[in-house]
Assembly symmetry: C2
Homo-oligomer: 229 residues x 2
């Protein structure tokens, strides 16, 4: 028995807030639209969900097609169903957020067919649709989650110094942290592997490098450990 649905259907899209970490700023990846509505305006990467792909797959496909991004950290954020949010027709969007290492991806994003660029999250241009609200929600989620899940490492290179790590938290949380207390706390978690290596080519004392030890982290979580900064 074929199933027929008697009502008109909302369209379904995915949108992604891709965060990257600069020396001094949290950045968001935006794509310049070439088509109406909002032609020429900057917008979040995203697009329609196909019937044969999951939401996660759709989001990753769009990131690949529009920004050349692959293998990023990606999580669902929320779903937005305001009736008039798209002037063309009813479009419900499943918003996601992604974390990438800026160094790895700066080039590809800018060389895509469409115009893509990184903007400081606190200095965004006018965005299409309700994308400002989505970015705001994503930032709040990031600020909340980074404190109780070790997701911040996704923004850093695999090897990093404690200063880099601290700077990352300071930028995301928008407040300064005490250096000694931070180091004490983060090392006491026992999820950083001391690499016995130091930074290269710096004009001062070189910092020790660490790596997030995901293996140990997972084991500790299983034993009831709670990450918290």
């Amino acid at each position: 028995m074929p199933f027929t649905y008697p009502y008109a259907r909302p369209a379904l899209t995915v949108d992604c807030v891709v965060f990257g970490l600069d020396v001094s700023d949290l950045k968001v990846l935006l794509i310049q639209r070439d088509l109406a509505p909002f032609a020429g305006r900057w917008a979040l990467p995203g697009g329609f969900v196909r019937v044969d792909e999951t939401l996660d797959e759709a989001a990753r496909r769009e990131l690949r097609e529009e920004a050349g991004l692959t293998k990023v950290f990606l999580e669902q954020l929320c779903t937005i169903g305001e009736v008039q949010r798209d002037p063309r027709e009813r479009v419900v969007t499943v918003a996601h957020y992604a974390l990438v290492r800026l160094g790895d991806h700066q080039v590809q994003a800018a060389t895509d067919a469409r115009n893509a660029a990184w903007f400081a999250v606190d200095d965004l241009p006018d965005l299409a649709f309700d994308h400002v609200a989505i970015v705001t929600t994503a930032l709040q989620r990031l600020q909340g989650k980074v404190r109780y899940q070790p997701i911040g490492f996704e923004l850093l290179p695999p090897k990093f110094s404690l200063s880099q790590l601290q700077r990352m938290y300071e930028i995301i949380l928008e407040r300064e942290l005490d250096k000694r207390n931070f180091r004490k706390k983060v090392l006491s978690l026992g999820i950083l592997q001391d690499l016995d290596e130091v930074e290269q080519d710096v004009a001062h004392r070189a910092a020790r490098l660490y790596r997030f030890d995901e293996r140990t982290y997972r084991q500790k979580v299983k034993d009831g450990f709670n990450f918290e900064l």
Copy 2:
């Protein structure tokens, strides 16, 4: 220029995990399906999203139509887009969770045209579709959120004793709490209004009644207060 979308569209539904609090159990409201697929199986209340309503409106409409529930606490949970989750066709669902005062609603839910009933969350029957997974996610969300947002009051009558409040947290968090520490902590938050009344018709010393003071709570939040249990 009319906008036409060249691909087939996923259908979009909402589903709701409605929690209620019994004397000793957290309960979930289920509806018995009368149509295929899964005819006769218990399922979460829910249904298709219409083009002229928001997701929140759709969820509330379904709760009203299927269970006679109105004016409940309702929040979005997550959106599930596994390709094969509905055997009929591609259906993406926006899951929600709701909190109701069991006493207020027990009757209406059971007198609806369809069969509706409350089940203990740790003793559910076989559910249709992927609804077990949705309940699990909702429970985890509730357990997490109840500790840093004052949403638990939605499960209690407007006037409640500290013992009732404590029992609520114990049932949701599935662990015992120390009475003296609990009372000290919760009273120190300063968001409970002492009503200078006591329980009636109990066969022992009557407990003082309190009310959640939402006004004060909002004010405190504005001033940087952080609810946390």
